[in-house]
Assembly symmetry: D2
Homo-oligomer: 366 residues x 4
């Protein structure tokens, strides 16, 4: 179904930007593990808007209210359901959207699909706001993975034309990534980070926006997980990632750059690790996956986000009712670079997919 | 399941490179339409090996034997099953692979997943040979789409560092693409095509290989198809594309380049078409999809293929039994650029996914 | 997943008997139709406990709080989510259940499956209370089916050894069934109804309980809906029906009795209807389905419910911790005949499954 | 999809009664176990027609040709595909069926669903012949279950009005059942068996047919397998069982009879087994499943089969083209009691579903 993904662990989201609430049901979580709500809330804060001038000034608490699945702070094994109230809606900002679709938004396609009556205020069910329940679910998945020594951390590989330093693919500095994740602009290199902040601010001032690439790293994930052909780790991650509004591309390891390389450059030669037992690869161009199955090296995923389509400049559009060309000015408060807030979102989705693969293999969690 | 994809139209592949046969079952095809077997066979020939010096010299007929689903040349509505005999196996070429895994192949991860006994001769069930049944199924899907005026055509966007001419995203020249598809190097620009051929030949002589990017265009596909969130056109295409061995990344429209653009550059402004009725966009950076739903513009998908990992050079690997480093020389005949033969494969997968979305909307086919 | 069913229309339930709330998410509903909440609440009341001496004296409002999917009283096309608060829990009644499993309850198997920590107060996630969200979702489905002239109505075919009158399988008296559905004992024959009421009351006084068979009728459902083999109307109804706690068997049309008949007795001969156009059958032993596909005759489904396992008599059980035999007395208030309240539940599940099949065929709902 | 079932282990069948071949693909089998083909062939013979005067005189070899998934007689872990040639088709027997549908067959509903062109000779894809691939797949599943000490055996609980002896639900005599399975009429009680044989022969002579109930027993299956709500052992078994043509009802344990019992009669009291460790129940009315999860007691499933609808008597039907009433005489050779041959089929389906549940729990098979 459209609002669901997962096989052993299923996430089912609900809600719309300007409805009463958004939320999700997660089915398939193990019975027993304790969830640290405070730590979860800290994770959610990384995605939440209104933190500073580089992100939208809307303020939404993003506090999940749990309806089921938690008993005395522990996962009960039955579906975990929660909702987040929508408290900060400016519906009037969306007055003319029903007739004049915003360029590069889903306003027009939503009407084609659901009919004229569809509620697209704030993006409706297509809104980036739906990534909040993804982060609640993913935040819980991250805690479960951490219990098994698995770390997931992402940074902005690039913001517009500005690139962060290259992270070592064989031994990624997870601490540096986690630390960067706390920054408004989650980049590892401090100088680049400042440049990027300035670039975003310029975009904002120019009533423009910018895209960016998020790069996710995972360490400690077991080897031998996944399947060939159509149910590999890449298949499921790719499908789930495209559930995040604004994604234009996904790649693993060296990704699109691999296509410009030769086999001699790109192949990951095997070698024995220092322990004399573990088989590793000297390089990690593949991003930790071969034939849909993990090989024990760090997982590396790149996600290309388009620039925020809501820009304050006047844009060309059409009146659907009058069937004529017209101009559109989008009101309201919008992120000049949605990529910043997408960083924890992709960590969350990565964690959900990886946990989904792991659950049939690891039965004991508490 | 690992060997399946699709929702209304399900493809279930089987077989291994060095087993008796490969094939597939397709469930959900409409009842009635006639299939042109000759045209199907011509499509399969584009993928088949042994055509010239740029592709592997193995010769396999790739003739599908239909077991069910066709009555008097017409689709019967019940599952269509077929197999292709494996006639040209050189198992001795794979003597030492069980112990010494080939770099950037699935030999090692397959053993982790299935145990030491797994049959990985020729890549086993992970082999690129499994793309032959994909092309049979996809070839049928292409014929069905054509009945509705939908065209699918792909070219090599790039081979290694060499890029084909830019194809117009709003009005792609489908004829030129289809014509290019008949070439050994399926590129539109004749000069670039010759450069690429020479580059591949150089790679072959140097016992090396190259990657490339395939770009698929679809015209005539209806607007309003797809779903938001996790079951959009992008989600399903991305998941299915990663069923093709060697894929490292997938992107839609301007893809990874979108992340370096500004919103003002990237947004696709709406405008009324010349007919005064149809709503189109002036540009097509989104690749024909917004919010998981088609907008009526051409669909554009980029698929980044890694260089063929089987190269004739000596490579570093390990002996799994002895747990020590060793050298490996891969014998046999291999494509210096698998991307060439991947072009019809991605056309096929695209057609299967798009037909899957279309079937609940279009009930009459004959 | 365990808490979900449906293909185009997916229901995902959550909650436990003694948790904060129960509820569900329904994905795939059409955009536009108005829902009559008052009528929905009246439907829920038929399932709700505490109505009279024949059902448990627990009083639960069963008022759904909608979180999303309804805008101005109309379905919005995006997932509909709701919860029902649990207001009337007597957790102390379940003090010793963790160690001494109740016979013919899921207490023991739940611990095998989820571990000792599983919360089974009131049946936990296995509780019959989970049929409340089923009824909310099914109540909405019933309203949608009614818009297309489809009626669903059920009665108690039998309570213990007492059988209701036979309902005509070709022309079922839907009005009589709907009227009976408003009774405490939903049987059509008034005399039988009184006998059954007395029988149940006797069971209650004897600290015992009784089972029963629910029979569901559907009229107005289109012919030609469903699929052969593993995705027929029977397959999906059967699978969904077993989501109702206490079900021991399901049958279609003449069901188990068909197996004692001869072909000459059981075959449903075709004949032209009075209109000279419609093809009908003279009898309806098949219950409206052949080869998994509806034939336009009324659908008839029988569901056999076991007697309520919670009886006040002392029963034999074991102490799981001491691994020794022991006695158990179940406290609290329990239905002597859960079958009574199962009648609207099976109407609800039937409606959900039939709507799921119908949605790809009928796109216009408002 | 219509021709598929299973989650970890997926079966995908294909073929039609009068097509070239029938067969299936099984995905998800473990890598390593050796399959005893001779023993599999002996199992298939129990379903095959033409064995004696009580079953149809059509002779079909039912020899599976394996295309993939077996290497040196061992399961390879990749999808197992096979086909069975259709060698004995009498298409002329089905000349007028396209216009005059056979009562209680799928001829009419198939045309409603697939259009007039659908090939229904011999029942097409709806044919009982599709149970042959079910038995090949199920025969392999039975061998895998046997490796873990799990036995599956069925008998005819009843043929028309004639009932076999009651099999002990707590300690079923599996040897007696397996022995009975070798008989033409698979009943345990010799006298009943002869009565049933005579009854079937009488039906045949009278150009009539009879139904029957198959009862399946499973011993040795682990406790704690399955899920609550919509993915329990009963849900999946029920859904898969309705893939067998002719099924009218399914029940577990005491089934429909439970609904006439009191709680005191029906409840299965717990007690410690003689070993002082194992928890068992004194009775087994539930048929080994509570809350969708196995409790370690034998599994018991009843399947009610309708009488063979193909009877030689003249029957009432209609001409679809002329829209008028007419008479129909069905030619060809048909089983007077299809229930006999359904016995191994339900063993096969049971084994497939139970193996599907078991595979995520038991990773080591060879």
């Amino acid at each position: 179904m459209s609002s669901q993904f997962g096989k052993t662990l299923t996430l089912s989201t609900f809600g719309a930007s300007h409805g009463m609430a958004i939320g999700a049901v997660i089915d398939g979580l193990p019975c027993g593990p304790a969830i640290d709500i405070e730590s979860l809330q800290a994770f959610l804060k990384r995605r939440a808007p209104g933190q500073n001038r580089l992100t939208t000034q809307r303020k939404e608490g993003d506090v999940p209210h749990f309806l089921s699945g938690l008993v005395d702070g522990k996962l009960s094994g039955s579906p975990l359901a929660f909702y987040i109230e929508n408290t900060n809606q400016h519906s009037k900002d969306y007055g003319n959207l029903r007739d004049i679709p915003r360029p590069s938004h889903a306003d027009y396609t939503a009407q084609l699909r659901y009919g004229e009556g569809v509620d697209m205020r704030g993006g409706g069910h297509f809104s980036g706001r739906l990534t909040a329940p993804l982060c609640v679910a993913g935040g819980i998945a991250l805690q479960l993975l951490a219990m098994k020594g698995i770390q997931v951390a992402a940074h902005c590989y690039s913001i517009g034309p500005i690139k962060d330093m290259i992270i070592d693919a064989v031994h990624p500095d997870m601490e540096a990534l986690i630390k960067a994740g706390q920054e408004t602009v989650p980049m590892v290199d401090v100088t680049v980070r400042e440049d990027a902040a300035q670039y975003i601010d310029t975009m904002r001032k120019e009533q423009n926006s910018t895209g960016g690439v998020v790069e996710v790293f995972v360490t400690g994930y077991p080897a031998g997980i996944g399947n060939p052909n159509f149910d590999g780790v890449e298949n499921r991650l790719a499908s789930a990632f495209f559930g995040v509004p604004g994604l234009k591309g996904i790649a693993f390891g060296s990704g699109f750059e691999a296509s410009a390389h030769t086999g001699a450059e790109e192949n990951d030669a095997f070698t024995m690790a220092a322990d004399g037992q573990t088989i590793v690869t000297k390089t990690n161009h593949c991003g930790g996956i071969q034939g849909g199955i993990t090989n024990g090296m760090p997982l590396i995923i790149k996600a290309a986000m388009k620039p925020t389509p809501s820009i304050a400049q006047e844009q060309d559009s059409v009146s659907l009712s009058k069937k004529e060309n017209t101009k559109l000015i989008i009101k309201g408060r919008h992120d000049p670079c949605i990529t910043l807030r997408a960083v924890p979102v992709f960590e969350a989705v990565t964690a959900l997919v990886l946990l989904d693969f792991l659950l049939p293999e690891m039965k004991e969690w508490s």
